[in-house]
């Protein structure tokens, strides 16, 4: 499938031209899918193909950028990490002789995913010391130390995407206690009333 043909742009177009074509076509297909019958169905299919084409082109461009900026091998390791292949990425890094800032940055990501947090911070600090002007590395280090290792971050929202709430939900969510409450309500009520009935 030729993704550039679906978007009606040339493979050498700029990012702005690509985004403009995507926005324009998306607006058209988004309206078409609400038409009745076959026309609506076709509109939905075109919209889905358009999104797939755009995402694929963006992914390919990101991979090419990574390869050209940091070398083919590190770009490959970067891609393997994005696909979740930690062992594959580690193998590439182990075979790489030239260990610059980006090598240490990728190594820190591998350590983080493996759960080796101190090693991850060490590698990230090395990356920052080798390339202090790189905001990607300094932002990552800052985020690791201030946010991810914070003992006061809101536990209710950690790991959950698209959370808008700042306050934790009330701690009175109705929840069955694995059937224990149904088992003996009297005991539960009595225990709630009197702390003396707690386990010795």
């Amino acid at each position: 499938m030729n993704y550039y043909e679906i978007l009606g742009v040339s493979p050498h177009c700029t990012q702005e031209e690509l985004d403009e074509a995507y926005r324009r076509l998306r607006a058209i297909y988004a309206e078409e899918r609400f038409l009745e019958g076959e026309a609506g169905k076709q509109g939905a299919i075109k919209l889905s193909r358009l999104d797939e084409a755009y995402n694929e082109i963006m992914r390919e461009r990101a991979q090419q950028k990574s390869s050209s900026q940091y070398g083919h091998k590190l770009g490959e390791a970067d891609q393997k990490l994005k696909n979740g292949d930690i062992n594959g990425a580690q193998e590439i890094l182990d075979n790489e002789q030239d260990r610059g800032a980006h090598w240490h940055f990728l190594q820190s990501i591998i350590f983080y995913k493996k759960g080796w947090y101190e090693e991850s911070r060490t590698q990230l600090k090395l990356a920052v010391s080798m390339d202090p002007g790189n905001t990607q590395y300094t932002t990552a280090l800052d985020r690791l130390e201030q946010q991810m290792a914070s003992k006061t971050s809101n536990p209710y929202t950690m790991g959950k995407e698209n959370t808008n709430t700042q306050q934790p939900p009330p701690y009175t969510e109705p929840d069955t206690s694995m059937g224990l409450a149904r088992c003996c309500t009297t005991l539960c009520i009595l225990d709630c009333c009197c702390d003396l009935l707690r386990c010795i």
Partner: protein, 292 residues
Amino acid sequence: MYGYIIPDKTKLYNKDFLLFRSFYCGVCKSIAATSGNLPRFSTNYDIAFLAALIHAYKNHMPEYSCEGCILNPFKKKHVVKQSELMQRIVSLNTLLSYHNILDKIADKDKGKLKAKLAKRVMKKAYFSAREILPQADNILQKSFEKLRELEKENSKSIDRVSDCFASGFRDCVVKSFDIQNDYNFEDVIYNIAKFVYLADALDDINDDAKKKHYNPFLARYGQYKNKAELIKEHRQDIEFIINMTINRAIESYNKLNVCEGRDLLNNIFYFGLRRKAELLINSPKKQKRERV
């Protein structure tokens, strides 16, 4: 596992306390049913937590019975009944306790007599547990061997040493409870096991410094005379590693599809772990065993 994963009582609802207690008593009763009365001393809060987590994750509603306790036969309490799942959980606990005991015996120490006595008591239970979970036994054996090798080398990498225990325990749980490709659950187990290992190491700094035993914090930061001095110099680094482990456990737990028993597990993950970490870091002495 020595009771580092407990709920925060100040934020615990009574229903959640009763649920936690019923799992704790259920583990004790299951050990008695599987291996006799003596191995019951290996019951601990950490395995009660694991039992609650696995039941919630597998959406397995436990059955309850009203029974007296070996310590207090006149007071009847709700107890999680023996089941195939509970049998596997207590078998895993037995394997872990036995391998811990073997590890203590391998250390050249005066406390070996106590460990040798414990080994005798647990031997029969260990053989039954090994029949139920043979793969877990092999994994634990290899993990503890690797751990001993790293300790002999006086490894300075806290992550490498704790990874031995944490990844071994994670693989045991995955094999024993048929966990299929759920990286979030695997991350929860990994980080919880890592927290237990680090908490135990932090608690034992004074003893290990005195007896010149291997301790990952002493190996990494230098041979301090006591915990208070080490914490004073390296508080930020120690807080970083402990808080990262807890936060990753919370993050992965939040991605799980757990419904029943959520309040109890929320308390343990969101409040219990952090509270315990604070106590361990700020207390200069070894923590006494807490009662829930």
